[in-house]
């Protein structure tokens, strides 16, 4: 099938094979300096039965030109922030500055080994320390670890800290406190992270307004088994939990702690601080709020900030300042331990610090305002065309549904796929789970008014198409290299790797 040539459509090179299919015996893509020491017989160094004997058969043999063309062609099949608006709700797809990339590649950082003596890595430790100080100021929580490698990793860290705190505070009694409360609108990572820390999960209902149901919260807190609450704020419906202080009081009065999922901090930076709301521990996503690139699915970075009371439980090592120098502090006997080798995703820390310094304190606030304004502008622009299930004004993201279009058989997935034909990446779909046919739209501050208007216009045209020509929407996208893929078939009989032809046939 790969030998068939498809005519050029919107993609210049639709025919790029897998590298293994391109591979030709004898092609070379590298050159090393010749070995400059006497070569000893292999068997003298490594026993024969420990040696590889397959000669790496079937690994690719290609030239450098093959590699470049291969990846450049494949890259053209991707949508990206640099191409246009990428309104994935709760993902904060904002501009990834080239300056930050340049900073991360400065040789004094890029070539530094993580086990270099403290004395010879002061600049690197200073970067960590300064970023820590800024994130402390931004969250209003006085203690921090930058070790977690992603948001879910930061969640796990935060919840383990809660567990360790309760175990230390309550001793044996803590074994009765093993329930983590999580709203029904939460990310799936929340319950998964709670489970990793040995908690069972109870779900809190949302009100018809889209906020945490306080009565249900009080009821769940009355059983005496509550370890804590995991809350996203603004929540995943894009709404600020305006009762946040009362929520924290209820949980605290019941002996629990409040964990905030900081996925949506892009609505709050420079405007309000979780620490002032009564939150005990939070994770941030440097790859969302602080613009480090998503990279097609990572790397992320998920710093964990907490109160003084929780500080003894943070992962080791802590990075501290003594006098004019920076050092690693391992002397934290109550710490939950390490969550990752070395210090975390350091390259992301450099980029995030560069983001904060480039914006300045006024620019951080300006970005938040612009992000919320863009979201409100879309909310206003699409109201009436799509059902907006919650009437209160959204923060940085807004949720709509497919209710009006579903009457004609057009659903959220179809609207999302049709949006691709208009040149936009779709919004987050079918999340949060509590809203049927949810479309969660987060434009971020990185989109100008013309593009917002185009997006609104595209969504309105799709709504029109859904009425007049639903088939057009149901079969979208029409302009991509491939159409909708049969995901059910892919999961039934998964093919997760390439195999050489003969072997594939034999299998």
């Amino acid at each position: 099938m790969t030998s068939e040539i498809t005519k050029v459509t919107t993609h210049l090179s639709p025919n790029e094979q897998l590298i293994f299919e391109r591979s030709q015996k004898g092609r070379i893509g590298y050159r090393l300096p010749p070995l400059d020491v006497e070569e000893l017989p292999l068997d003298k160094l490594i026993p024969r039965n420990f040696q590889r004997d397959d000669d790496l058969e079937s690994m690719p043999e290609v030239s450098e030109v093959d590699v470049i063309r291969h990846f450049v062609r494949m890259s053209t099949w991707n949508y990206s922030i640099d191409l246009g608006m990428y309104p994935l709700g709760s993902c904060t797809m904002k501009y990834n500055s080239r300056l930050n990339e340049r900073v991360a590649r400065i040789p004094g950082f890029a070539n530094l080994h993580p086990l270099t003596d403290e004395r010879d890595s002061q600049g690197a430790l200073q970067v960590i320390y300064e970023l820590q100080q800024h994130l402390i100021e931004i969250t209003g929580l006085p203690e921090i670890s930058l070790q977690p490698a992603a948001g879910a990793h930061g969640e796990m860290t935060g919840i383990m800290i809660i567990r360790a705190f309760l175990d230390a505070r309550d001793g044996e009694g803590a074994s009765k406190r093993r329930t983590m409360l999580i709203p029904d609108s939460a990310h799936g990572t929340n319950p998964a992270s709670a489970h990793l820390s040995g908690f069972s999960v109870k779900t809190i209902k949302s009100t018809s307004e889209g906020l945490t149901d306080l009565d249900h919260l009080r009821e769940l807190c009355a059983h005496g088994d509550v370890a804590g609450l995991m809350l996203t704020n603004p929540n995943t419906l894009g709404l600020f939990e305006r009762n946040i202080q009362e929520i924290c009081q209820i949980v605290h009065a019941a002996g629990g702690l409040v964990y905030m999922d900081g996925a949506n901090m892009n609505a709050l930076v420079g405007v309000a601080r979780p620490g002032d709301m009564g939150v005990d521990v939070i994770h941030l996503n440097l790859h969302k709020t602080f613009s480090t690139p998503h990279g097609g699915g990572g790397p992320g970075s998920g710093p964990c900030c907490c109160t003084k009371a929780l500080a003894p439980f943070l992962p080791v090592p802590r990075i501290v300042k003594s006098g004019e120098s920076y050092r690693l502090d391992y002397d934290q006997p109550q710490s939950i331990g390490r969550v990752k080798a070395f210090f975390g995703n350091y390259g992301m820390m450099l980029r995030a610090l560069s983001y904060i310094l480039t914006h300045g304190n006024d620019g951080l606030r300006e970005a938040t305002e612009a992000a919320v304004l863009n979201s409100r502008y879309i909310a206003e622009g699409l109201t009436g065309t799509y059902e907006k299930p919650f009437s209160s004004p959204p923060m940085h993201e807004v949720v709509f549904t497919d209710k009006l279009q579903a009457r004609k058989g057009v659903h959220t997935l179809d609207i999302a796929k049709r949006l691709i034909d208009y040149g936009f990446h779709p919004m987050t779909i079918y999340f949060p789970l509590i809203v049927q046919g949810a479309m969660l739209i987060e434009p971020t501050e990185s989109v100008g008014r013309q593009e917002l208007d185009q997006f609104i216009a595209a969504m309105k045209m799709i709504a029109g198409e859904a009425l007049e020509n639903p088939e057009l929407v149901l079969t979208a996208p029409h302009t991509t290299r491939i159409g909708r893929l049969d995901e059910a078939a892919a999961a039934r009989k998964p093919v997760l790797r390439w195999k050489p032809k003969a072997k594939a046939d034999a299998a």
């Binding site: 092609r27 420990f50 900073v103 790397p299 390490r338 300045g360 691709i420 593009e451 893929l485 892919a490």
Partner: protein, 457 residues
């Protein structure tokens, strides 16, 4: 702010268009008492020129980054072909999200499919995932997975596994009802002790070893796999120096059930410890127990081949607390770097890098062993790292090498094993020239060898 397209005037017009009088009103749903009065106490904005010079100043305080280096222990200096950074710097890759919309993410998806294939080929395993955060968290996930697969709760691990990896495993299992038993390494061979196999019983979910291990010694995986399987346990193999796979028998061929590796050696800069990329591979029969994302082949209505995220019912966004892991964002871009590296170096390049590492390490280790006052305490076969026992405390020795000779000579083992005061771990790769190795020998000789002869007649 130059990253915000809308000018203040445009924003004022937009505010008016949605019926608001000021930006402050955007935040009306936040109780007034919670809103900040003034600006954050973070620095004022820097221009590009100012910012770069600030970071350059800080970078200049990292003397370690400029020296000849023999540091390894989980992070390695290897040659990175120029095209790796070029490819990962393409907007289409680095500014894309997790490929949730396959029709406009085929570049990322096909790359991950190739990555999964390469990981299988290198490790000799049948399936691999789209990546973990790094080797250490990959190992922790492997331990949790072995509990799911076997429904047993005891893990036996050798202390010859990277100490930081073991610390991470400890953190991950502390609330999982898993009993982690550490078995001392053999201080003659530097390999896992004979007692490791003896510690496996009918409660054991998995045996955990690293090969080449923390001391650079290659472990006898086949024997360990047989011992594990005889009691119904799994063999979990961790690898920190993935280049070794170019030369050493792949764990899959030795009988390993789960293989995790740190992929930093495949085209990823040291960058003070991250971001790196964890490789995770296992047997086909355990595919539905794998943590993290998987990409599989799929076809559209016209029969055109593409790739999608698949077997998602294992994952947190569907299974929530019953998911195989909480991992969501992984290390996509770094997995891309590793893929570009592996395809560029290719079948022959990976073998040649491994060969050069081995040969140069043999050259360095044999010369150091001949120096008066110096010895190699472990007899196990080594790949590109080895432990040296010196005449004085290793931390003092290394700090003089750095300060007086501008050489990062190794890592003092006392950092992890307080009893091994005079031992340090040396790593040699294809980037170390013979001249650099000779300079290290010369420095050790001039600074320490003669003195030892005097103090220890």
């Amino acid at each position: 702010m130059r990253y915000i397209p809308n000018s203040p005037e445009e924003r004022a017009e937009m505010l008016a268009a949605i019926g608001l009088g000021s930006a402050e009103e955007l935040f009306d749903s936040i109780p007034e008492t919670l809103r900040l009065r003034g600006l954050l106490n973070t620095p004022a904005a820097l221009s590009e020129i100012e910012l770069l010079s600030r970071f350059e100043e800080m970078a200049a305080r990292n003397a370690g980054a400029r020296r000849t280096t023999f540091l390894g222990a989980g992070a390695y200096s290897h040659y990175i072909p120029t095209i790796v950074d070029h490819v990962i710097s393409r907007s289409e890759f680095f500014t894309a999200y997790t490929p949730y919309q396959p029709e406009i993410s085929q570049g990322t998806l096909q790359t991950i499919f190739e990555f999964q294939t390469l990981v299988c080929q290198l490790t000799g395993m049948e399936v691999a995932n789209a990546s973990m955060y790094d080797g250490s968290t990959g190992l922790a996930e492997a331990v949790l997975m072995s509990e799911r697969v076997t429904r047993r709760s005891k893990i036996v691990a050798s202390t010859s596994v990277h100490p930081e990896y073991l610390e991470v495993v400890k953190t991950y299992v502390q609330h999982a009802g898993i009993d982690l038993e550490l078995i001392e390494f053999d201080n003659e061979t530097g390999q896992a002790g004979a007692t490791l196999a003896a510690a496996i019983d009918d409660e054991t979910a998995a045996v955990v070893v690293q090969s080449p291990n923390f001391f650079g010694c290659v472990e006898d995986l086949t024997t360990l796999a047989d011992a594990a399987h005889a009691r119904g346990a799994l063999l979990v193999v961790a690898i920190t120096e993935a280049i070794s796979l170019g030369l050493l028998k792949p764990p899959g061929a030795c009988g390993a059930d789960i293989v995790v590796a740190e992929g930093q050696s495949f085209g990823v800069p040291l960058s003070f410890g991250g971001p790196y990329v964890g490789l995770f591979a296992t047997r086909e029969k355990y595919a539905r127990q794998i943590p993290g994302r998987l990409v599989g082949e799929a076809y559209d209505k016209q029969g055109r081949r593409g790739f999608v995220l698949t077997l998602a019912t294992r994952e947190q966004h569907i299974r929530r607390e019953k998911a195989t892991s909480n991992i969501c964002t992984n290390e996509g871009l770094i997995a891309l770097a590793a893929t570009v590296y592996l395809e560029t170096m290719g079948r022959r390049g990976i073998q040649e890098v491994a060969q050069q590492c081995l040969q140069k390490t043999a050259y360095a280790s044999q010369r150091i062993a001949q120096l008066p006052g110096f010895s190699l305490p472990f007899s196990g076969p080594r790949f590109n790292e080895f432990v040296v026992r010196g005449p004085i405390a290793a931390s003092d020795l290394l700090s003089r090498l750095a300060g007086e000779k501008e050489i990062e000579g190794g890592i003092a083992l006392s950092r992890f094993f307080p009893d091994l005061k005079s031992d340090f771990l040396v790593c040699v790769t294809e980037t170390n020239t013979r001249a650099q190795i000779d300079a290290l020998i010369e420095a050790l000789t001039s600074l320490f060898a003669n003195k030892t002869a005097r103090t220890q007649p």
